[in-house]
Symmetry: C2
Subunit: 375 residues, 2 copies
């Protein structure tokens, strides 16, 4: 199988799998137990938290473990809405992941917040000035993704952070698509919250991280035994936490080389796609280097994804999380891409596990399929 759907999820590193086995069969104690077995496990979680903080250049007390990025996002948005005071306006982009867009909709229903969704420009990137222009004294929160999951386009999360740092407006960055693809370091990014997901960088599913800047007002959404210093109750997913800390470390260690390699492999796909008259929807100069969104007009994205699957190549039509609805085509349409073109898009997303041989085999299969299926 050639797996090219790494923005949806990734294979675990072998090291990750070994850690999970260890914490399932050997070091399986409850980190909250007051026996020595539990205390040692608790110590292991502290080490993992510190390692993650070191990797991300933040304080260990700013790292909180959740069950997934969606939970992290819910936590940041729901907590900030709780502390909105008399202000009522949230600004986001119209191309956010559904975890942001649907949670804001839910908060609109619950709390009557006003949501402003800023559209991206034609290149698929939101103009920071258009967000800044919307910020006023009624605004209590801005939520923006670092890199778009469907196109890979990098959004102006830094510029918005710089602007908001002079205000008391909550700022949340959906940073799910950054790790292993982009140099994302919290010491030079100004934000209250940043969300991450272990399984997007070769960690296990079932673990999310929420970075919460020290001093940020925050309210738990899951209460109980008081784990995570009282902010996220529930027995910690020990294996997942420790495995994720290792996945992050490996991803960061290899980041520079992997980025060069993935960019090179993406370029092979770009060139072949152009030869096949594909329309490149990704801004190649301003995107995470693993992602290519391309439309072959006249050939529906889902048809091509199915055909490639049958030929043992796994790609995506867009966001896996939106696949039940419109398959994330909204991201393209919001940038002004016509429905006919958007519906003919596929998303190819690489990881460091992809070899050049695989990509050369893939482009041949792609060419065969496009020629076979195109109307």
């Amino acid at each position: 199988m050639i797996y090219l759907d790494n923005n949806a999820t990734t294979i675990c590193y072998p090291e990750v799998s070994e850690i999970i086995e260890n914490y399932s069969l050997k070091n399986y104690g409850n980190p909250n137990a007051l026996n020595s077995f539990g205390k040692e496990i608790n110590n292991q979680i502290s080490i993992a938290r510190k390692s993650i903080a070191n990797q991300m250049n933040c304080d260990k007390n700013e790292i909180f473990f959740t069950s997934c990025a969606t939970e992290s996002i819910n936590w940041a948005l729901r907590s900030s809405t709780y502390y909105k005071g008399k202000r009522n306006k949230v600004i986001t982009s119209s191309i956010e992941h559904k975890a942001v867009l649907n949670t804001l909709k839910d908060l609109k229903q619950l709390s009557g917040i006003e949501i402003v969704e800023v559209n991206p420009e034609k290149n698929g990137i939101v103009d920071p000035e258009k967000i800044i222009r919307e910020i006023d004294d009624r605004t209590f929160m801005v939520s923006l993704m670092a890199a778009n999951n469907v196109t890979g386009n990098i959004q102006p999360y830094r510029e918005i952070g710089d602007y908001l740092s002079k205000t008391d407006i909550f700022y949340h960055i959906d940073a799910v698509q950054t790790i292993g693809k982009l140099n994302f370091s919290l010491d030079n990014i100004k934000t209250n919250f940043a969300s991450f997901s272990g399984h997007k960088f070769h960690g296990p599913k079932g673990i999310g991280i929420l970075y919460i800047k020290n001093g940020t007002k925050v309210r738990p959404i899951i209460t109980g035994g008081g784990q995570e210093r009282g902010f996220r109750s529930g027995t910690q997913n020990v294996a997942g936490i420790i495995a994720t800390s290792v996945a992050l470390k490996i991803s960061n260690e290899k980041l520079h080389d992997n980025m060069i390699e993935m960019k090179k492999l993406r370029e092979i796909i770009v060139q072949r796609s152009k030869k096949l008259r594909g329309i490149i929807n990704t801004d190649l100069d301003n995107s995470i280097v693993n992602t290519l969104n391309v439309s072959f007009p006249g050939l529906k994205g889902q048809v091509l994804v199915n055909a490639l699957s049958a030929d043992d190549v796994q790609t995506g039509i867009s966001s896996a999380c939106s696949s039940r609805t419109d398959g994330g085509q909204y991201v393209l349409e919001k940038a002004g891409i016509r429905k006919e073109i958007a519906s003919c898009s596929i998303r190819i997303s690489l990881s460091s596990f992809n070899s050049e041989d695989e990509i050369l085999e893939f482009v041949n299969k792609l060419e065969k399929m496009v020629n076979l299926l195109k109307i």
Copy 2:
């Protein structure tokens, strides 16, 4: 190591660990992806859901996956409070897990609900009549645990279910301590909600189940991509879900034999404890058979737990999730056990992994420690 803290967490079955490895390194696809790899994973989740429903004798559409029992509990209680209408009263017991007690406190702060906590009788078991007497036309929810985590005492969750089935009051059962220890089957229990945790029955940490009876009004607490039929967003913890379905199956298959064996082993500890003038806090005739709570007056529980740990035996002072606060002694004190006795309690909780040899070794170590340390 002799591990006797199985109410806190359990070792994974070897089969569970194998499944996790498989879904981490081989079948790692995203179940929401529309390629063939993702569709197959989605199919595997459906099979796991159906297997769990079969084990529990309910409909597969009544099984929802969460990240832990604490999340399941939060979901049930928060959703029911959202739909409370003009009613405002919740009835629970004073010996619930902190996941219930603290979430209700949080809901009191958020929504002004009134909480009635019914105390247990001297045997540590809540009198169902005392709960029923509290139920009135202002009551919108009752939450009761099936078996207490600290003492093992089985609570009147069936009787309350029978009574409430004639009403439109939401009913939630915290069933975390049932699987593998008690014949718990949803076809003869009347409830809207029941919460479970994979890692309490040799599944992995990071997976909870919420049973939601068909027809129950329910609102998501984590929104986004619309996974779990729109009720719990976030990429599913595939490995955890499938591993938990297998852990449940194994636990149920061996339930009868394991219960007989654990009861026999517990009796060995009971007899030796009595010889050491221990006070048995567990109602041995009305408790899950793996649990023994015993006080050795004059010897603080934490001291004994530490000493046993140093001798490679892991026990608990009570609930791991409450260990930061009073260690779950509140459960004993609410039953009228004096503070001096409650603070001298330890919790010994067995699993099917414990052998008779281990228990014979343990009681010798216990005797040594009690004689050594008792004032």
